[in-house]
Subunit: 359 residues, 2 copies
Amino acid sequence: MRIATIAGDGIGPEVISAAMQVLNTAAPGDGFQYEVTDFPFSAAHFLETGHVLDDDDIAELKKYDAIFLGAVGGLPNDPRLAGGVIEKGILLKLRFELDQYINLRPVTLYPGIDTPLKDKTSEHINFVCVRENTEDLYCGVGGFVRKGTAQEVSNQTMVATRFGAERCIRYAFELAKTRERKQLTLVHKTNVLTFAGDTWFRTFKAVAEDYPEVTTDYHHVDACCMYMVAKPELYDVIVVPNMFGDIITDLGAAIAGGMGIASSGNLNPDGTAPSMFEPVHGSAPDIAGQNLANPIATIDSLGLLLRETGRIKGDKAAIACGERIGAAVKAVTPKFAGKSLDRSGYGTDEIGKMVADAL
Amino acid sequence: MRIATIAGDGIGPEVISAAMQVLNTAAPGDGFQYEVTDFPFSAAHFLETGHVLDDDDIAELKKYDAIFLGAVGGLPNDPRLAGGVIEKGILLKLRFELDQYINLRPVTLYPGIDTPLKDKTSEHINFVCVRENTEDLYCGVGGFVRKGTAQEVSNQTMVATRFGAERCIRYAFELAKTRERKQLTLVHKTNVLTFAGDTWFRTFKAVAEDYPEVTTDYHHVDACCMYMVAKPELYDVIVVPNMFGDIITDLGAAIAGGMGIASSGNLNPDGTAPSMFEPVHGSAPDIAGQNLANPIATIDSLGLLLRETGRIKGDKAAIACGERIGAAVKAVTPKFAGKSLDRSGYGTDEIGKMVADAL
Ligand SMILES: CC(C)[C@H](C(=O)O)[C@@H](O)C(=O)O
Ligand SMILES: CC(C)[C@H](C(=O)O)[C@@H](O)C(=O)O
């Protein structure tokens, strides 16, 4: 497997390096063969060279089987990075250009990890969000009228298509089918978004007919946020458009112990271009380079990379290796019991070694 | 004060009647004079007569000083009510036609009320959301191309204006100025919504110059949801556009004890038309008519109605009466300690009497 790494900014390089240490240890046991190439795309690289990520870079990245990203982003409030130049120029560009139409975000409370919710355990917090990743308010469609005047109007358009909704919803049904509860909830805001919401709702109903074994439900996004806090056990698989998905998956990360533990995959399930995997957390420039960052979310994202890319490419050794890494992460998380994930007292490299040892 | 009541569907009539019992008891003490007229607008009324709420109704309602609404909405999944006919036809129509451009939602953990969050008390959960209420994805702007085909596209447009953002942001600064912490956070998604988000961000910066005594901050909506669960003490006043406001205020209701306790005001601060006040919960048809509904959120919304309408109209007796009702609610909530709000064992009328007695 050819893996392109984009270590990125801040703590990105440290957490990627801890994950690579884990991969080095894990791979031989499963006969998993891989090579890794580093790419410099980051806020720092942009500030130095003026180069973000262009079409040639995309063409180059397409040669790889998977992309593994640490974190990109500079100092908050750096005016040279305003308007989402890095987020749009790197993260969203990769998602759109590589047609990574699924953003997969597991919301699982791991053993030993503290949830901010009372009376909730791993039994209650154990679901997966399937977020559409290539449409919606993320298309960049919109504009200004009379910008800068008292009469300024701006429009920002949510775009939904039958094609885009259907492939995402179908992916979610396929996933739900493989799970024990086989339960899928569509999250949208159909009572207000009578165009985009209607496209999603009708598509959901239509696709559901192909999956009689899956139980379906529908929640408005506002109600979903309440339930995620009050009754997260309602959920098994959630399917949700891009913008609402962005919001509820951060909330999901929060109830499962915070950004320090949340992994994600940006999948091109058809394998026409590489998928990308990244921890949900940012570059945390304040603690960068001090061996303080917790690499657990990155290591877990690596496990996801191997399992998902393995499935797409039919690489059984990759799947086996990804499963072992996932299990090793769960074997290590009890060591964080009673500690905060981001101030655990363990160094970045030490946590990498803990997972490697658990293998 | 002339108050129009729209008791509505399900538990609406019961909770409004409990609140009216409180008002009857409270008003004489403050010399507050009022008259009440009931209006039938509801899902039930629509199903019976085909009439939702038309322009003549709006003209009639404009003659009142305030509107007090219980809950509107029929059975979930009733196909005759699909597409938000009641939500859009009553709630949103009132907000838009009466130019109720502020949706005010306090997020306060009351004494004795249980939050689903660990280690959080009334000290940590004590903020106010100022949600813009007349723009954004709520304008109904959008449409379909090739609806019903495999090539279907739908657009739904978020509309932001300098005028709309500014009057809302200014209201939020004025509110923040009166509070102890004097802290205002803008919540948006500027790194992705580069048009609508930019209008809001620039307007926020510009208005902030008029309020040097207010400390300001900016959070992306996804991060805000995480913080509301992990660190709600970050917030004093939040200002947020309509759709994101819908989402974070439901989350706010959840952390402050749930729908059973959340009050809200749809304000026309200029007094050019009546403001509307309503509990955040719905019509709960499953428990309607059984004296089971908790009227606390409705009674608290009545307190808000009196204080806010009193301020807009310069009616001191109304303000005093609203303050006493607010205090009585807080005196009663400890009785719910250790109980769930919606299955407390107290009847709807009994809770009304408890608040009346506390006056
Ligand atoms: C950085 C930002 C553009 C991105 C998003 O909004 O999708 C992030 O919040 C995420 O969820 O991956
Ligand atoms: C019923 C619905 C239209 C409404 C909204 O989305 O504003 C509700 O969720 C609310 O928050 O008052």
